[in-house]
């Protein structure tokens, strides 16, 4: 059973169709990548899932039932892209406050905060104020406040921005652990290499519409261009009319080729063997998510235009 189902969700603002008929499904335990250029409607979509906005049309099904913001927000942890904490409030008190707002009892909140502070080596922070923390430190604190109440659904908007590689890995590991323990994670970012590394499933939105939906490998297969890298010390002789591929690029020890429609890699190998070319390696080149992202979004203007509704 999926944890979250969005059905034909719409949210129009005065001058923009921020979310225009988006449906998607997030399975339990998934790390789900929500991608899109700036202003695509990601934040609006997330705000509807977190109960901050009501959709104009459409339905949200959360954990098998119609989404009820008042009671279900306790099951959701949300870390917005723009981090926010009370600067003048002591860290221990602040974390207690945010945890209690999510419905934890005082004693539960205290026990869990202690546990996380030990895990992240933050014990000495309890009586400090947020304004004393560096950007990376407050990022860690923000992450802790997001997941403290053990939400079923964790929504992280650019969770790694401003973190050094050590702390990035620390948080990345925690994200994997959360998913292993059954939490579902929606991960919103522009950093495609992180998406490839972390996400099982991705959705790409642009101009308020969903333009791509699938697992990372599915998407890559869908957008592959039948490119292969052939490693060979010899130069491939000039192609005759029967060659099932064309050469795009020749390097010192390899060549990149594109297989023609209807031909298979085996056809290529057979042809090369018949031409007596010594092959060291033969490898398919799949597009990176970055390439796919750019290709899909490039055609639209970089800045979203205002439109009349």
């Amino acid at each position: 059973m999926p944890l979250l189902e969005l059905q034909q969700l719409k949210k129009y603002f005065a001058s923009q169709k921020a979310v225009d008929d988006i449906s998607l499904t997030v399975e339990k335990g998934q790390i789900f990548g929500l991608l899109g250029p700036n202003g695509a409607g990601k934040t609006t979509l997330i705000r509807m899932i977190t109960g901050i906005f009501y959709p104009d049309e459409g339905q949200i099904i959360f954990d098998g039932k119609k989404f009820d913001p008042v009671n279900d927000v306790g099951q959701i942890g949300y870390m917005p892209e723009e981090r926010g904490l009370y600067k003048k409030m002591k860290i221990g008190e602040q974390t207690m406050y945010l945890a209690q707002l999510k419905g934890l009892s005082r004693s539960d909140a205290q026990a869990r905060i202690k546990e996380w502070f030990v895990k992240f080596e933050m014990e000495s922070w309890w009586n400090k104020k947020v304004e004393d923390l560096s950007k990376g430190m407050s990022q860690k604190l923000q992450f802790v406040t997001t997941i403290l109440h053990q939400p079923k659904l964790v929504i992280l908007d650019e969770p790694f921005s401003g973190l050094d590689p050590v702390n990035s890995n620390l948080i990345k590991d925690e994200i994997f652990k959360l998913a292993q323990n059954g939490a579902t994670i929606i991960f919103s970012t522009h950093r495609m290499e992180q998406v490839e590394e972390i996400c099982n499933h991705i959705v790409l939105v642009n101009k308020g519409k969903k333009i791509l939906d699938g697992t990372v490998s599915q998407v890559k297969q869908e957008f592959k261009e039948n490119l292969f890298r052939i490693g060979s010390t010899e130069v491939i002789p000039a192609l005759n009319g029967n060659a099932p591929f064309e050469i795009l690029n020749t390097g010192k020890a390899d060549a990149i080729v594109r297989i023609q429609e209807g031909k298979t890699p085996n056809d290529v190998l057979q042809y090369l063997i018949s031409q007596n070319v010594a092959i060291h390696s033969f490898q398919e080149i799949l597009p990176t998510l970055n390439d796919i992202f750019i290709r899909l979004v490039e055609s639209s203007p970089a800045a979203r235009q205002f439109q009349s509704i």
């Binding site: 926010g84 406050y97 945010l98 707002l101």
Partner: protein, 427 residues
């Protein structure tokens, strides 16, 4: 509900524990006392005894009469001086600060309008009038003597003073002077509370918005709960401060009451005396109840509007000023109406000003000390309270709609027109 209480608790605790709150709460009464005792003390210290030489050409100002008045009023000592002095009188050498020149005149005709008090430096109006009173007493004495009015007859003359006092038939113990004083004080207190704590609500909302914590909080609670929690929390801070001050007044009252027994300052005596009169001559429970009601009602009415404004602004303090200006103007107009109402508590301005919720918290408090139902009929009080409750429910609802949109809206400069659109948009 539990979450709203959590928010109230946070808003309250963070503010009450702040140094500025503690210092402000302690300092205000101390400064107030210093002001009262300090000015009294300084006035006492700086009072100097003026020595005045009297040059009498009329022959009425005998040293016996002058000495009698010197004993009665020691602010100046007059001396009858025989020597005639020229224009360049040496004040330092003679030891006199000033010289009063009395020309030749008759007792039964009008005395010359201006007697001249010569000195080599300027003295204020207070000195002038003190000397004038003294001279006139002596002059009265001269006339009495010549008319043959003895001490007994003088007493009868003094008995003849008639005073006029306004009495409201419905409420006889009412005292116009005292009532207007209490009304004024209550009105100003509510005025300060609305402005000071209203702007605290505004700045608090603005802080949450610019800190970006707003988005995290609204993913846990409804924006309405968030706004209400803040307003109630800050309202309780205002109430706490106010109650502490009342407690201070009682402490000071008791301390000074003991002091005056052992001959404390005259200023303290006066204050204690006036507090006592207030307690005995005004319907205290009713006035206190109404004060608490209008204090909270007025605060909620305006604080929610200030909260809505806070949600609409981005970091820019000037924006806050220009958006809150019309609201602040309304509060200031209320004070202007109140000053009229204090002098004419049954006039149309007072009546309407105390019924319309925009100004009723301040204007009604100016009328209540005059007496209910004597000056303020029960129906007016009931209507005013009902409208104020309806009014703050409306402003809270209205503000919540603006707040919901504004708190997550960044970058754009907002106008009142825009805010009204948010408020009246459906859904």
């Amino acid at each position: 509900m539990r979450k709203t209480i959590l928010i109230i608790k946070r808003e309250y605790m963070t503010r009450v524990r702040k140094k500025t709150f503690i210092i402000g709460t302690l300092l205000f009464p101390i400064l107030y006392l210093l002001l009262i005792f300090g000015t009294g003390y300084i006035a006492e210290k700086s009072r100097q005894q003026l020595k005045i030489a009297v040059l009498d050409s009329s022959g009425f100002f005998t040293s016996q009469k002058i000495n009698l008045q010197n004993q009665a009023d020691q602010s100046s000592i007059m001396d009858l001086v025989k020597t005639t002095a020229g224009k360049s009188y040496d004040y330092d050498a003679s030891g006199y600060d000033a010289m009063l020149i009395i020309p030749a005149m008759k007792w039964d005709t009008a005395a010359p309008n201006n007697l001249v008090l010569k000195a080599n430096k300027s003295y204020g109006a207070a000195v002038e009038s003190a000397v004038q009173t003294k001279v006139n007493r002596i002059w009265d004495e001269v006339k009495n003597e010549n008319l043959g009015i003895d001490a007994g007859k003088r007493e009868i003359l003094a008995l003849n003073r008639i005073q006029v006092k306004a009495v409201n038939e419905n409420d006889e113990k009412m005292d116009a002077g005292l009532s207007s004083g209490i009304g004024m004080a209550c009105g100003f207190l509510i005025y300060f509370i609305i402005l000071i704590y209203g702007s605290q609500v505004m700045m608090g909302v603005m802080e949450e918005k610019t800190n970006r914590i707003a988005e995290i909080i609204v993913s846990s609670v409804k924006p309405f709960q968030m706004m209400l929690g803040k307003i109630i929390g800050i309202g309780l801070v205002a109430l706490t401060q106010f109650l502490l001050w009342i407690a201070f007044v009682f402490v000071i009252y008791n301390v000074t009451a003991n002091l005056t027994g052992s001959g404390g300052g005259g200023a303290a005596n006066q204050i204690v005396g006036s507090i006592q009169t207030i307690f005995t001559s005004v319907n205290l429970p009713l006035t206190l109840f109404c004060f608490a009601f209008y204090f909270l009602g007025g605060f909620f009415f305006y604080a929610s509007i200030y909260g809505a404004i806070g949600s609409a602004i981005n970091e820019d303090v000037r924006e806050a000023q220009s958006l809150s200006f019309p609201v602040t103007m309304l509060v200031i107009i209320s004070i202007v109406l109140m000053t009229t109402a204090v002098n004419d508590p049954t006039g149309p301005i007072a009546v309407w000003g105390s019924i319309i919720p925009l100004s009723s918290p301040i204007v009604m408090m100016a009328r209540i000390p005059y007496g209910v139902p004597g000056t303020v009929p029960v129906w007016q009080l009931a209507l005013s309270m009902g409208l104020l409750i309806a009014g703050f429910i409306f402003t809270t609802w209205f503000a919540a709609k603006i707040y919901r949109t504004g708190i997550l809206m960044y970058g754009k400069k907002t106008s009142w027109k825009e805010m009204l659109r948010w408020a009246f948009r459906r859904n």
